[in-house]
């Protein structure tokens, strides 16, 4: 007998795509998508049930369909589409409470997967470099998304205590990035000129969209309970990432960035959330040892590869300096041309300078091709 999986929050892209991916899994019999509004895209073999997780109807759905696995994905990061902070909070917190209450009643339930976020760790100057799952945020979040998620995780822990027979897997995913993802971070990175916080350089760690589906699917199938950080390998500095995306930047003091963010949100240009300012100032890294060792999941993309993939859909708005330098490198063939032998010899003597040449050659090849 295959699994019957209920996925909440399928009206949004990530939920919908995950439900479709899951429906194609041979181990899964049925996938039931639940949301307040119907999904906007193709949901394939997923059967959609229009239900509000904020009221007890959801319990009937779980009981009627004999659901054994619930994937909770309807925690939203910004009020953007929901219509205000109050609605957002209600959707996130009250919705989760109702869902968990329904789950507690459902005898058939065996497995609960909650998609949480690394935002629960906060972002401040006093953070350790890499958060492990046991660490607490240095300052308890007082508002917004981070507080919602912290409360949701609290309810989930309570549920796990009350129903010890249910495997509860909480996945704290890093910011999801992908060519089609719309999130506060992607809309920030898509700005033609990116405002950055003067004097600070955040450490970023992201997760590719495909790896998010992968880890959720893995969690549905695997027999592992617990809380896990999920993120791509490696760190990119914000400045470095923006250079790779070829975005020009404007440095301004933190409060000015916040104000610009508010303006952009009011103008509906970008979905900028207040927690994001801290993240863009100090950044955050998470330790993923437990993800590998206990959960047994290996992300396919590193942070750098995820950014490279994200960049393919982005029209570069900057990169002028790079073009000038590339032109200079090409306009001076005498400089680089007649001395390949000593350069190679030097490269043999000390391995460091070999890389730039290979990179430059690769890039030139790409330019010509």
């Amino acid at each position: 007998m295959g699994k019957v999986v209920l996925v909440t929050g399928v009206s949004r892209d990530l939920g919908r795509k995950f439900a479709r991916t899951l429906a194609a899994d041979p181990e899964v019999d049925r996938v039931i998508g639940v949301d307040v509004v119907p999904p906007r895209g193709d949901i394939g073999a997923v059967s959609f049930v229009r239900a509000d997780i904020r009221n007890p109807v959801i319990a009937k759905v779980i009981a009627k369909e004999d659901v054994d696995t619930v994937v909770h994905m309807s925690v939203i990061a910004t009020p953007g589409t929901a219509g205000g902070r109050n609605t957002m909070k209600e959707l996130n917190v009250i919705g989760t409470m109702q869902l968990l209450a329904a789950c507690q009643r459902a005898a058939s339930l065996q497995h609960l997967v909650v998609k949480s976020t690394t935002t629960v760790y906060g972002a401040s100057s006093r953070d350790p470099a890499m958060f492990t799952e046991d660490m607490q945020p240095r300052r308890a979040p007082r508002s917004g998304y981070a507080k919602d998620v912290a409360e949701i995780e609290g309810y989930v822990r309570g549920f796990a205590r009350r129903r010890p027979d249910v495997r509860v897997t909480t996945l704290r995913c890093a910011n999801v990035l992908g060519p089609a993802v719309v999130s506060p971070l992607t809309s920030y990175l898509r700005l033609p000129v990116v405002p950055t916080v003067l004097g600070y350089d955040a450490r970023l760690q992201v997760l590719h969209e495909r790896d998010l589906y992968g880890v959720l699917q893995h969690a549905v199938r695997a027999d592992v309970a617990g809380t896990f950080n999920v993120a791509g390998d490696g760190i990119l500095m914000l400045s470095q990432a923006l250079r790779r995306l070829q975005r020009p930047t404007v440095s301004m003091p933190g409060f000015a960035v916040g104000r610009v963010g508010n303006l952009l949100r009011q103008a509906r240009v970008a979905d900028f959330s207040p927690e994001q300012l801290g993240f863009l100032t100090y950044g955050r890294g998470v330790d993923t040892t437990r993800m590998r060792a206990e959960l047994g999941f290996e992300p396919t993309m590193t942070t750098a590869e995820t950014f490279a993939d994200f960049a393919t859909t982005l029209t570069p708005t900057g990169g002028r300096t790079e073009r000038v330098l590339a032109g200079l490198a090409q306009a001076l063939p005498e400089v680089e041309g007649p001395a390949p032998a000593p350069l190679d010899a030097a490269g043999d003597a000390q391995p460091a300078p070999r890389r730039p040449r290979a990179v430059a050659a690769a890039r030139e090849g790409a330019d010509h091709g």
Binding site: G199, L236, Q240, P356
Partner: protein, 398 residues
């Protein structure tokens, strides 16, 4: 008449600078030797501003080869009358002149090559190509940082290069006992802290990099990561926050970690208390070392106390700005920015014998008595070495 004439400006070609009226005696001698230059009157354009008189003047010597007497007479005669009556000079013509156009391109190229050779040495083409590749890598973000934000390339190329002359030429750092730093694997360097501004940390970093070939990863105070720019530089240079999580993570990763347990109590102590070690915090560094089983290398730094002798403090202003102290040194607020130049004291860095921590059993890190004992042992070692070094030192600046 066909050629255009160029009217010279300035002294009008008279020999010597003088007042413009009377040629200097030296100039007269010269002029006498050669005599006024003869030329046909036709070369002068009749319509020029200097009327007709000079023309007649020039005609006179034209008649025959001039003698010294006549030349003298002529100059004397003309000197009184008008400025214009000068011994004529050859009118320059366009075809006589050198080709115009500034410095030729070939010369420019040669100069550039010489300059490049000056800057980059004999293999300047290679160096320039390498530098260009480096610039392109920086601009495209094609470099790697580790999970603490450490940017090895920029640290090696810029930070170390900038600090090295200060360490070698200004403070003339003498490093001893470098063999006590393990060549690989994790180790914890524990040092005294002094000097009002944590210059000793930077100098330790560059000394260890140059002598032991390893990067020291310093643990910085909260304040460092709160400040803009400083926090970015600190992360790029390999520092991370001084907390147990990061310290243990780095030590487990096999890094050489540097810690200054005195903290602000150490660098902010008055000059009168120099070389007296302050309290070593709560001994967090010892428990981190015991948990990870890495050796503790005590380091004594002599010389850093004298770079900015702290004679006063403005506590109220410091509280207002949220910093531990506002230093007053003999030079600082007095000379303005010039007061920021550290005094060139002579520095001695001595690494002591490593203190092993891998013999303790599992729960030792949570035994406060043991941790305090080890902390005191490290503190005493550094203090004793400081006294020995101070005895050896001839004077502060030598």
């Amino acid at each position: 008449m066909g050629d255009a004439e160029i009217i010279p400006i300035g002294t009008r070609g008279r020999p010597g600078r003088g007042t413009g009226k009377q040629p200097s005696s030296a100039a007269r001698d010269l002029a006498g030797g050669k005599g006024p230059v003869a030329r046909p009157a036709t070369r002068r354009t009749p319509g020029t501003g200097e009327a007709g008189e000079p023309v007649e003047e020039t005609v006179a010597p034209d008649a025959g080869p001039p003698s010294q007497d006549t030349a003298q007479a002529a100059t004397h005669a003309t000197s009184g009358e008008s400025r214009a009556e000068t011994p004529p000079r050859p009118a320059a013509r366009t075809r006589d002149r050198h080709p115009r156009g500034g410095i030729p391109a070939a010369d420019l190229m040669a100069a550039f090559q010489v300059a490049a050779r000056e800057v980059f040495g004999e293999e300047w083409e290679v160096q320039l190509a390498r530098f260009l590749a480096f610039l392109r890598r920086r601009v495209t973000g094609d470099y790697a940082v580790d999970e603490y934000g450490f940017d090895q390339e920029v640290t090696q190329r810029f930070f170390m290069a900038a600090l090295r002359p200060i360490a070698q030429k200004w403070f003339r750092i003498e490093v001893r006992g470098i063999e006590n730093i393990p060549t690989d694997g994790g180790a914890l360097v524990v040092s005294n802290h002094s000097g009002t501004v944590p210059v000793d940390g930077l100098m330790t970093m560059v000394s260890i990099h140059d002598h032991a070939g390893r990067f020291l990863r310093p643990l910085g105070a909260d304040l460092v990561f709160k400040m803009p720019i400083v926090s970015t530089m600190a992360r790029k240079g390999g520092a991370t926050l001084a907390c147990n999580e990061d310290a243990e993570r780095m030590l487990r990763g096999g890094e050489l970690v540097g810690v200054w347990p005195e903290g602000f109590k150490g660098i902010g102590k008055p000059y009168a208390e120099r070389y007296k070690l302050q309290r070593f915090g709560r001994g967090g560094f010892v428990s981190a070392a015991i948990r990870t089983g890495v050796p503790i290398v005590p380091l004594s730094v002599v010389g850093a106390e004298e770079i900015y002798p702290l004679v006063g403090n403005i506590p109220s202003l410091a509280r207002l700005l949220g910093v531990p102290y506002i230093p007053i040194t003999p030079t600082f607020p007095l000379l303005g920015p010039l007061g920021l130049v550290p005094l060139p004291s002579k520095w001695l860095l001595e690494f002591g014998e490593p203190i092993r921590t891998d013999e303790y059993d599992e729960g030792a890190a949570d035994d406060p008595m043991l941790v305090f004992n080890v902390t005191d042992q490290v503190r005493e070692t550094i203090q004793q070495k400081l006294y020995t070094l101070l005895m050896e030192r001839e004077s502060v600046f030598r």
